[in-house]
Structures are given as structure tokens and as C-alpha cells.
Symmetry: C2
Subunit: 439 residues, 2 copies
């Protein structure tokens, strides 16, 4: 680009991340110019409510309510979409792309639902979309997948990609808090929304694995095909019992290559306490990526928050102003508008170890009956724990060797129908450290 | 680039990393073409000894001894320098740049010694140098510093960047092995060179902190100004005693911003066992980078080895063929041929906690005399450990609050001159978790 020409930026949405972005672009404008040589200029902020922008001391002459005027300004090369949600955000992004503006966004929901359509639209108008901030907050994980690890066939990707859930699980694990109280503490710490549904149901993690998995494997993943389980049904008893057995519970987003297709999932799972991801605690995120050449690499950082996410937004702005993202978008072939639908492993075919818990009445022969059913479905047990109970109903906990998840589900159905078994049995994956294949 | 035009690559050096690179570029040629859309072609391998290439099954028609012929081939756009060392490598790289070829290298020694000169030469000939593989093996840490974290003022960088040393320290810590035996085991595992001097003296880590630090801070660091201490003088006794106090020893490369300039060092140091870097064990490397916006980010992976390092080499080749590295090299301003000399914190000014060990004869008043000297130099003690000894000479271990390293060195000199103090006192930094400044 011509270095004397200003690179005009319009920011749509000035909430938590938008505010952080506005601050970085204005307070650090000279620093950014010195460090990059690029004349980045935040020219407009489009918002319905400027109270946050005012509170941050953003200059009022940036405020502009007329989005059409912004898009008509030829100096605006790039629109940053940070309003979130699906409806208005999609309209605003579509208009920007149609006006020939590059777009940078942190909106994982939008990209997980409409990524291929939006990427195709960008391509049609010869612009591109930067979305580093959509996954893992400030961690440059999209860059790693689309650049640093490009020489690799990715074999597996495991992510702790929701800070709210990780904070809640950490509180429950380390302080023995109930789910309810841990959620309240996350809300008090500004880590969870007033309506935390997207986070705690695992949907937010599903959005992110859809985006990351599509890039990692050059296969288009459809959000609705990802099996999703949240942490909202997790019982403190299982966290504590898992801990006694040496495991830590994390909400894991997984995209793993198998001979029969991609195995995708979002679910709470147990990791051995020495597993590298077991130690990622609180609001931190981490993504482990295994490549056929590089082996295990891991990326850790703050997965949310104003300035960490803004760090990723501004990195995207720089890469677009520099011309490198447009070039990558034009030439590389793994963008989700260009790839075929992912071939997925049929869900019951996934092999994993499992933690199982049954609530049983203390009768003679119960363990034998349960073990027999498990054995009939080719499930073998590695450990068993039955504590003495004060009530009639006693928890019986088992961990298994590798078993097909379909077999486990069938066995559990059968066990649930036993007379002495109360409630629905609990099953949680035990995810072992993925074996590297490096040479 | 024109996508029909082949992007010809010449590989100079076909040892461990060169062999891995040749395999990736040949065995995975179709995969790379599919994944990137780039027609990368390995056309020549220049080596004096082709035995490794032959053992790997590389096709002999790639072997070419005449480097001038290679450079004269207009289809060759890029030369990969993987012979290592300073003399021949520098000549070969210089010739490639002068012939208008881009260069990719894993040669940290060369870049740490002659980086500014080589970058300037590349710039003069309108080509660029890719060096992701020079630091942290397969970890895309150079990309993080020159791209993903660009919006940040970097505040601190802590790296475990030598797999040989980390393997040796891990063996000593976990298995109580002597330094000598741990070194032998590293050599047996192919993790240490027959001559491990560059690794165990810390020089290799110094090369890497010179390269990473110059980029992180946009200030040119001169290798000879980095204080370097290796692991070759580490005593198993201190590792064990540190462990009893809750600390793990790591060889840390540090570049930290202070009010008075950059604090650079390579030295064995103690980390609390819960410090994120304390858990990086064996041959793994990790780099923690703290930015003013992003907070703490950490990058982990294999720091050496054939295919992990080749992964970084091929990522660099892709980024150059794609045109993105040339663009970044032209526009961004932090390359070491463009920046001013780093302003460094005077060495004695560094504030840190310390682990101190004195070998003393068991006399009355010794602790008082030592404590008095420390106190006189404004050093206060946080813990003390004196074990009963079977010999006359007893180890006395102390940990300190934050103290100026210059004061510590002066105090130690004075203490060493006490009659009852034998040997040279041992002092090791205790590096605490760096406080994030994110908002």
C-alpha cells in the first residue's frame, strides 16, 4: 500500500471489545505507526449507545450514527464489526463487504453460522475477513492454523476456549463451590454475561471449534453437526470424585482426525492432572494442536476481556493494512467458502475412555449385574469406586478402558433400566494425552 | 505470484533439519499444493555429504554440488540454508541474497551474530529472510512476535528455548541424576550434540533471546551484551534443595522491559512449581510473552528435532512464496537492520529474588555474620535452611526478597572472604510469575 495514504478504519460497536479496540487505536496510534510503519486511523465509531465510549474518554468527533455515510467514505478501507449477535451484525457486515471494505470481527456465532456465505461475499468483492479475535481472545491461534502450522497435516485439536466455563470449573474444582455459586462468582468477576446460556451450554465453544476445525482440516464443518454438551449439568460430586482418581474436569472442544472421518465434540471431560491442558485455569484459554511434522504445540492466553481481545482485533487490522491477509485469502485454499463438507466419524464410533457413575440401591449382586452388561458391550473396567453411603442410594463410579461411545450409550441405557439403578447414569469422557507422531 | 509459475527451492545442507525439510517438501508436495495453492518445488539439494539424504530415500536427481549453477537458475526463488555454523553458512547465505534469492534459515548463531548485516543485504537486493525455525523449533513464536502480538508493547519475554538443557535439567530434577549422566542420556536420546558446548553454556539460548528480543522491543540487541550463564556449572544439590523449597530449576532466556532499559539474561533460575513455565519438561520449549494489551500468552512445542524444525522451515517457505513475508519485511519497521541499539538496564540494577547457598564451617555466629553482611547491602531474607552435616562443611541456604543483583554480588564477595566460608557462594535468581497489566 501507499504509505502516505491513510488507512481509515470504522468501528461498529463500542462495548467491551469495541471499547478496548478504540482505546488501542487512539491511545497507541503513534506507537502502532512507529512499530508497523502503517498509518492506521480510526475515523468513525458507529454505535446506538455511546455511553461506554464516553466513559472511556473516546473523542466524540469519532461518533457517527450514519453507517451509510461511513461506507461511502473512500478513505474507509476496513470495518470492525464488534456488535455481536447474528441479525444486525450480519446486515452490517454484509453491507461493509458489498461496499468493498475489509472486515475484522470477533463474532464467532456469526462466522460459525454463516462463515462460508460471508467469506464468499468477501471474495466476490475482492476484500477479506479477519477473525483472529473470534477464537481464543488474544491468543494468535487462527494465525497459527493459517500460517505457522501450514506445513502440517493436523491430527488433533483440543481447546479450552471458553473462559467463563473454565473459570466456573476451576472454582468448583479448587474451592469445591457449587455450579450455581461458581457461576455467580464468574458474573461478579465480569467473566460471565447476565445471560450465560451461550457459554455454559457449550454453544460458544461449538462456534469456535467449527471455525478452527474448518481451517485446520480444510473441511467445512457445519455447526449443527457438532455434538454439544455444556457444563450446566455438571455435578460437583463428579468433579470431586474425578479429582480423587487423579483427573481434572475441563470443557473441551475437540476436532480429531480418525481413519473414518473427523471426530468433533464439545463436552466436559476428564484430563489426567498431568495433562498439559489440565493446568489451564481460571479465565485462561489454551489450544493444543498436533501436527504430523511439528508434534504437539500449545497456545495459551486470555480468551476474553477488553484489551486481550482488542489485541487480536488490532493484529488483524495490521495484517490487512499490510496486505498480507488479503494475499493469504486470495491464494490459500482452506477458507470455508472453498472447501467441501467435512466427512465426520459416525458419533457412536468414537473410541474413548469413560468415567461412569451410577446411583444404585445397596443390593447384593448390583456390581455383578452392571459389570456383566458393560462386558457384554465390550466395555472393560479399569477402576471402580464405591463409597459407603448414609442413604439408600449410593454412587458407584467406574472408569473404563477405550470403548466405543455407541457401546457405552447402549450399555448405559440397559443399566438404567435395572431396578436398583436410580437417576440417569453419568458418563464423561476421559481424554488422554494425544500421542505425537513426530519423527 | 503467478500460480502457474513454479516456485523453485534449493536446499543447502541435508542433515537433521535439512533431511526433515527435504522429506516434507517431497513426500508432502501434493498435500502442500492442495493446502496452499502454491506450486512449491524442491529442485536442488546442495551438500558435501549426501549419505543422510540417501538414507532418507531422497531422489538423487535433486543432488547438485555446483552452488553457482543453482543460483544461476532463474526458477530458484528461495534458498534454504541449513548447514549451520558461522563461516560457510554466511558465505552461502550472502551469495544467495546477492543473487536475488529469498533465504530461509534455522541458523540462530548466524542471525545473532550477523543479523543486521544480513537483513540489510536482503533489503538491498529486494528479497527477505525467513527465520521462524531459528527460535523454538516448530513453535511459531517469530510469527507471534512479528504478527499476532503486533498491537502490543511487549513488557517481558521468558523462554525455555534449549531442549538439550531442558532435558538435562528435567532428568536431574525428576530422577536425581548427576549433570554428567543427564548429559549422557541427552546425547543417547539424540537431543545433545557430541560437542554440547553451545547448548550447555547457554550460548544457544543467548542467540535466541538476541533474535526474539530485538523483534519484540524494536531495539537491536547485540549478542555480546547479553549476560550468559549455562547449566554446566549447576550442582544437583541446589536443584534438590530448591525443589524442597517448592522451586524447579530451568534455563531461562529473559528479555524484560524496565524503566531504565531492557534487562537481558540467560541463566539457570528457580521458578515456583506452579509457575506456567515450571511444567515445561524434557525436550519441549516454551516462550511466555507479556503484552500491555494481551497480557500473558504462552507458546509451547518441540524446540528441536528433524520434523518439528522442518515444520517451521516449510511454513517460512510458504509465507515467502505467498508474498506475505516479503511484504512484512518491506513495510514493518522492527527488523534488526532498521532499529537503534537497545538501551539496556545496567547489570547490577536488576531487581530479583535470589536463592543463595554458602558452604560454611559449623562455627558459632556464622549465620549472624552472613546475615549482617546481607542486611548491610539491603538484602532481606525470606527463608533459611541449614541441614545438619556429617562433615565440617555444611550448606547454608537462604532465599531473599527482591534485591538488586549488584548488591547481591557485592555481598557475596564480602561473605566469600569470611574465614568460615568455603568455596564460592552460589546465587541463582528466583523468577516469580510476571504480573499482567491487562485491562
Amino acid at each position: 500500500m501507499n504509505q502516505k495514504e491513510r488507512f481509515g478504519i470504522a468501528l461498529v460497536g463500542c462495548g467491551i471489545v469495541g471499547g478496548g479496540t478504540a482505546r488501542l487505536l487512539t491511545e497507541d496510534q503513534n506507537f502502532l505507526q512507529e512499530r508497523t510503519g502503517l498509518p492506521l486511523v480510526l475515523k468513525y465509531i458507529v454505535e446506538r449507545d455511546y455511553s461506554n465510549a464516553r466513559a472511556l474518554g473516546i473523542k466524540e468527533d469519532l461518533f457517527e450514527e450514519d453507517y451509510n455515510k461511513v461506507l461511502a467514505d473512500p478513505e474507509i478501507k476496513l470495518v470492525v464489526e464488534l456488535i455481536g449477535g447474528l441479525t444486525i451484525a450480519k446486515k452490517m457486515m454484509t453491507k461493509a463487504l458489498e461496499a468493498g471494505k475489509h472486515v475484522v470481527t470477533a463474532n464467532k456465532a456469526l462466522l460459525a453460522h454463516y462463515g462460508p456465505e460471508l467469506f464468499a461475499l468477501a471474495r466476490k468483492h475482492n476484500v477479506c475477513i479477519g477473525f483472529e479475535a473470534s477464537c481464543g481472545g488474544g491468543i494468535p491461534i487462527i494465525k497459527a492454523l493459517t500460517d505457522g502450522l501450514l506445513a502440517n497435516r493436523i491430527e488433533a485439536l483440543f481447546g479450552i476456549v471458553n473462559g467463563t466455563c473454565n473459570h466456573i470449573l476451576t472454582e468448583m474444582t479448587e474451592k469445591g463451590q457449587s455450579y450455581k455459586n461458581a457461576l455467580k462468582s464468574a458474573q461478579a468477576a465480569g467473566l460471565a454475561e447476565a445471560d450465560p446460556t451461550l457459554d455454559v451450554t457449550g454453544m460458544d465453544s461449538a462456534h469456535k471449534i467449527t471455525i478452527m476445525g474448518s481451517l485446520a482440516y480444510s473441511e467445512k464443518i457445519s455447526l449443527e453437526t457438532v455434538p454439544v454438551q455444556g457444563i450446566d449439568t455438571v455435578d460437583l460430586y463428579d468433579i470431586k470424585t474425578g479429582q480423587e482418581l487423579g483427573y481434572i474436569m475441563k470443557l473441551l472442544a475437540i476436532a480429531q482426525k480418525t481413519d473414518k472421518g473427523l471426530a468433533l465434540s464439545v463436552a466436559p471431560a476428564f484430563l489426567h492432572k498431568n495433562h498439559p491442558l489440565a493446568r489451564i485455569s481460571g479465565a485462561f484459554n489454551a489450544v493444543s494442536v498436533y501436527g504430523h511434522a511439528v508434534g504437539h504445540t500449545m497456545y495459551m492466553g486470555r480468551g476474553a476481556g477488553s484489551s486481550p481481545t482488542a489485541s487480536a482485533v488490532v493484529a488483524d487490522i495490521i495484517a490487512i493494512a499490510l496486505g498480507v491477509t488479503p494475499q493469504a485469502f486470495k491464494t490459500l485454499t482452506f477458507w470455508p467458502d472453498l472447501t467441501a463438507d467435512a466427512v465426520q466419524l459416525p458419533q457412536g464410533e468414537l473410541e474413548s475412555r469413560f468415567y461412569l457413575r451410577f446411583m444404585v440401591q445397596d443390593r447384593q449382586g448390583t456390581i455383578a449385574r452392571i459389570s456383566t452388561i458393560l462386558s457384554k458391550h465390550s466395555i472393560s473396567i479399569t477402576s471402580m469406586l464405591q463409597q459407603e453411603g448414609e442413604t439408600d442410594s449410593i454412587p458407584l463410579v467406574m472408569t473404563t478402558h477405550l470403548a466405543k461411545s455407541g457401546n457405552v450409550q447402549e450399555a448405559l441405557k440397559e443399566i438404567a433400566s435395572l431396578e436398583e439403578v436410580e437417576n440417569k447414569p453419568v458418563s464423561l469422557r476421559i481424554v488422554e494425552e494425544y500421542p505425537e507422531s513426530v519423527s
